[in-house]
């Protein structure tokens, strides 16, 4: 029973990680590609970690909580790196399907909520 559950978790984890990486190839522009690794992989790595935690805790060699730590660090680092990558991409004005916000100076003006669009450079 446990083996069945573990294999299910590992397969689900592998599938989600694969889909996340597949997103890098299938999605059309840089900003949409960021979504694959930040989301689909979270659940993928999450399932793998749950499986690992279950396996090592039920083998009777004491409780191992390293997985909780890995999850925590993953949840902190994945969004931070995505945020920085997209910030750099905005700075470089990379090609985007969505209309880019004009200059970031325009964004700074308080009260302005509607972003003008520019043609892709």
């Amino acid at each position: 029973m446990l083996d069945f559950l573990l294999s299910l978790l590992i397969l689900a984890g592998a599938a989600f990680t694969f889909i996340g990486s597949l997103g890098l190839a299938r999605l059309p522009d840089f900003y949409t590609r960021l979504h694959g690794p930040t989301k689909a992989t979270t659940l993928g790595v999450g399932s793998l970690l749950i499986a690992s935690s279950l396996y090592f805790n039920t083998r009777g060699e004491g409780v191992s909580l390293h997985e909780a730590l890995v999850t925590l660090f993953l949840f902190i680092t994945a969004p931070a790196s995505a945020h920085l990558l997209s910030k750099a991409a905005l700075h470089l004005q990379l090609r985007s399907l969505a209309p880019l916000p004009t200059a970031l100076e325009a964004v700074q003006k308080p009260g302005q909520t509607d972003l003008g669009s520019t043609d892709t450079p």
Binding site: R26, H35, A40, G46, F75, P79, H83, L90, V107, P110
Partner: protein, 163 residues
Amino acid sequence: MRRLLPHPLMTLTLATLWLLLVNSAAPGQIVLGLVLGWAIPLFTQRFWPETLHIHRPFALLRFIIRVLGDIVVANLTVARLILGHPQRLRPAFVLMPLALKSDLAISLLANTICLTPGTVSACLTLDRHHLLVHTLDTADREQLIAMLKSRYETPLQEIFEPC
């Protein structure tokens, strides 16, 4: 007291982190963890000018559970979008006005937005009043902003900055 123990919560967090890292709960490790948790905030105090208060711990717990659930849903959504028709996506940049003030609350909100519903936080404006969010597939921007605000920002505001 304030000078000797500037961030009691961070002390506890660091001690817990240490115990998780060494993977043991031996008394010696607990003492070492507490000493580290006391010393590290003291020596890095310049990085943490504001003290953190969690005003409603249960609301925080509820928020964490909700976010974990949303992560699963968001993963399924993004997986469906990737496997579906990437050409039909409607990506958009949305500028979200922020009601949050404190650094930690804003970064938590940005992290949550990154982990959940098909959105990545792209940029925080210099005046800290707006967060630029990139969404993967959005028809209605106003609805998205309203959803993000009610689902994530309001709980965070209740937890960290009650009026």
